[in-house]
Assembly symmetry: C2
Homo-oligomer: 152 residues x 2
DNA sequence: ATTCATGCAAATACTTTGCATCAGC
DNA sequence: GCTGATGCAAAGTATTTGCATGAAT
């Protein structure tokens, strides 16, 4: 797969799709970030300069960028999709259910589990597509461990 | 915690709450099952016999049952909450993104990862609160491995 | 009688879709 | 000019909430 970050117009054209200002803006919003960003956040950024770009265009563009392999998304604790550049590679996220903070993690940490699941259950886990949710160090110090019924 | 499955009225009374036919029905819908069930599915079951029980009552009751420690819920691949009896103990779910099938798993399988996260990142993972999503053995045989951009 | 629980409708958040218009190519 | 892309509004799904009425204790 050619790195489409460098030549989005060409990547689009190869599929009979077109380059537009909206698509450029949306990609820039993601590129300008090191981490992850929700569709809504992308929209807010774009709207700052072009107030009439619609949220549905953002969703449709994100889908196209995904199909092209330019971006990927991961689901956080609240189920909201978070987008990031595919070129940044696979990484796992640890998301805190209390403060919502997310920290990246090398996929190697979860590789052993993935191996086990594959070996013993024939199950091909989507390693990075869903975050690992729990309590971060900061929040668990405040006594969050045993308070919630679903804290298991 | 007293096992409230056996005496829900008492467990409720101890908190100044009341027993109602609706609450009984909803608990029965979950108890009659070995596995997990969504709020919507609980509602459909209850409505078969009592058509005027409202979905919001189901949600409110499920919350109460959770607070009492009678049930717990887990989020599946689509983010939908799946409820199950707390008395069945902690278990992890492997959910297939293709066919939606869910299989239970002893939490012991993910314990090593949980230990690592705790040790190295101080992160207290919610082991059973979110399912592990991926492709089940059946679906990955059909060639699902490399087709999706987010299949990572 | 008091206070909690319910039904109903409306609101929420995220995402998708139908459709007429517009704009890349 | 052909066909894909956009804006807008509306729909869809899962869940929550306000409020008046109704029922358990």
């Amino acid at each position: 797969m050619v790195d489409p970050t460098l030549d989005l117009p060409a990547a689009l054209r190869a599929r009979g799709l077109r380059m537009t200002p909206q698509r450029q803006l949306i990609l820039e919003a993601i590129t300008s970030l090191s981490g992850h960003i929700s569709a809504d956040a992308v929209h807010r950024r774009v709207v700052e300069q072009f107030p009439n770009v619609n949220i549905s265009t953002v969703y449709r563009t994100l889908e196209v960028l995904q199909d092209l392999g330019v971006v990927n998304h991961t689901h956080f604790h609240d189920g909201v999709a978070q987008y990031h550049l595919a070129s940044e590679g696979l990484h796992q996220h640890l998301v805190c259910r209390e403060c919502g903070s997310a920290r990246e993690l090398d996929v190697r940490v979860v590789q052993p589990l993935a191996e086990t699941l594959k070996q013993e259950y024939g199950f091909e886990a989507d390693i990075a597509h869903f975050a690992i949710v729990g309590l971060c160090a900061g929040c668990s110090h405040k006594g969050g461990q045993t308070s919630h019924s679903h804290g298991a």
